[in-house]
């Protein structure tokens, strides 16, 4: 059995980042976030301040150490950041994402739709 690798799927104006496999999603909630994009509009990462507060105590799973999709959580700042792709994030846009949590309150996926546009 191959290990699960977090992935970021983009379809049209939707980005879905799957952090961990889950048999069932019990809840979802909206997240105010900041999206880092390149000048070409490619998403580099997503920043979520007040992560725990916005998820009502929800937590993030342990991030893989390598790979394109990885994340970190700073408990002191209650700030979460998930990398989607390598590259500079010259443009920042505020957005609202949807966070999907499993029964343990752990984040399993984040979905952004519509994706911010770089004008």
């Amino acid at each position: 059995v191959s290990a699960f690798v977090p992935i970021a799927e983009r379809q049209d104006d939707r980005l879905r980042v799957i952090l961990r496999p889950s048999s069932g999603v019990l809840s979802s909630t909206s997240l105010a976030c900041v999206v880092d994009l390149t000048y070409l509009g490619d998403v580099v990462g997503v920043e979520v301040l007040d992560f725990g507060r916005q998820l009502s105590g929800g937590t993030a799973p342990i991030s893989p150490k390598g790979g394109e999709v990885r994340w970190s959580y700073d408990p002191e700042m209650d700030a979460f950041y998930i990398h989607v792709a390598e590259g500079p994030g010259q443009v920042q846009r505020t957005a609202t994402a949807v966070a999907f949590l499993d029964s343990d309150g752990r984040l399993t996926a984040i979905e952004l739709q519509p994706l911010p546009i770089v004008s």
Partner: protein, 244 residues
């Protein structure tokens, strides 16, 4: 008399003819026996190989190892208006406090980046950024910080892991001494590449300030930069381009 003179003329003609024949034969004979013409042909442009008594290459001084990229001049527009951060600074200003910000490009000059005129334009994108994964901090945004210990400056941040370790101790700050959070120092800071001087200016000259429960959001319309600073720790939580 006439007959005799005709005879004399005919004899003279015969002699001339015979002499010319002999001369022709002699000239032809010398022509066959003569050496080839020795006149040089006119010079023409041509490509030839020749051995030149010069050492190949150019004269250089003693070898000095120069780390890749760091010795390369950046694009003219990179540091003119607002410089990015820099990794592996060869010269850092002395530690004047427990936390020091270092910018190697300026060679120990102060951090006097002018304000950003338009968002995004002054944060030059180094095309090598993508090419080198872990080396991104050397090319783009980089915090170089020193910590002050009993024995003097120590633990200069020079790479990703080192940066991370130092950041855990809250080692990097803006030129004015505002400490960055681990989150900003390791995640969004290197990506967004906003100079610390701009962070200070945004806070000091904010055109819009919003006080929340545990933080203050500063927005500077001139730079079009938003800074979120924690009121409990004083650390910079987040810095980004655009309005709050």
């Amino acid at each position: 008399l006439i007959k005799r003179s005709d005879h004399i003329v005919a004899a003279a003609v015969k002699r001339v003819w015979l002499l010319s024949l002999i001369a022709t034969v002699i000239v032809a004979l010398f022509g066959f026996l003569a050496p080839p013409a020795s006149a040089t042909s006119p010079l023409r442009a041509q490509t030839r190989l020749a051995v030149v008594d010069l050492s190949p290459g150019q004269l250089v001084g003693p070898h000095r190892p120069a780390p890749a990229v760091q010795s390369r001049e950046r694009a003219p527009n990179h540091d003119q208006a607002a410089s990015g951060f820099y990794m592996g600074a060869p010269v850092c200003p002395p530690v004047v406090s427990s936390i020091s910000w270092c910018h190697s490009r300026a060679k120990s000059q102060s951090y006097d980046h002018p304000a950003i005129d338009s968002p995004g334009d002054n944060y030059a994108y180094d095309p090598l950024y993508n090419a080198s994964g872990e080396a991104r901090l050397e090319l783009g945004p980089t915090f170089v910080a020193t910590t002050h210990t009993e024995s003097g400056p120590a633990a200069r941040i020079s790479d990703g892991p080192g940066l991370r370790h130092a950041a855990e101790g809250g080692a990097a700050a803006t030129p004015a001494g505002r400490v960055y959070s681990w989150h900003y120092l390791n995640e969004t800071g290197p990506l967004r590449n906003i100079p610390g001087s701009v962070v200070d200016e945004t806070i000091d000259q904010a055109t819009d300030t919003t006080q929340l429960g545990d933080r203050t959001i500063y927005y500077d319309a001139k730079n079009d930069v938003t800074v979120v600073q924690s009121d409990t720790t004083g650390k910079i939580m987040s810095v980004r381009r655009g309005a709050p």
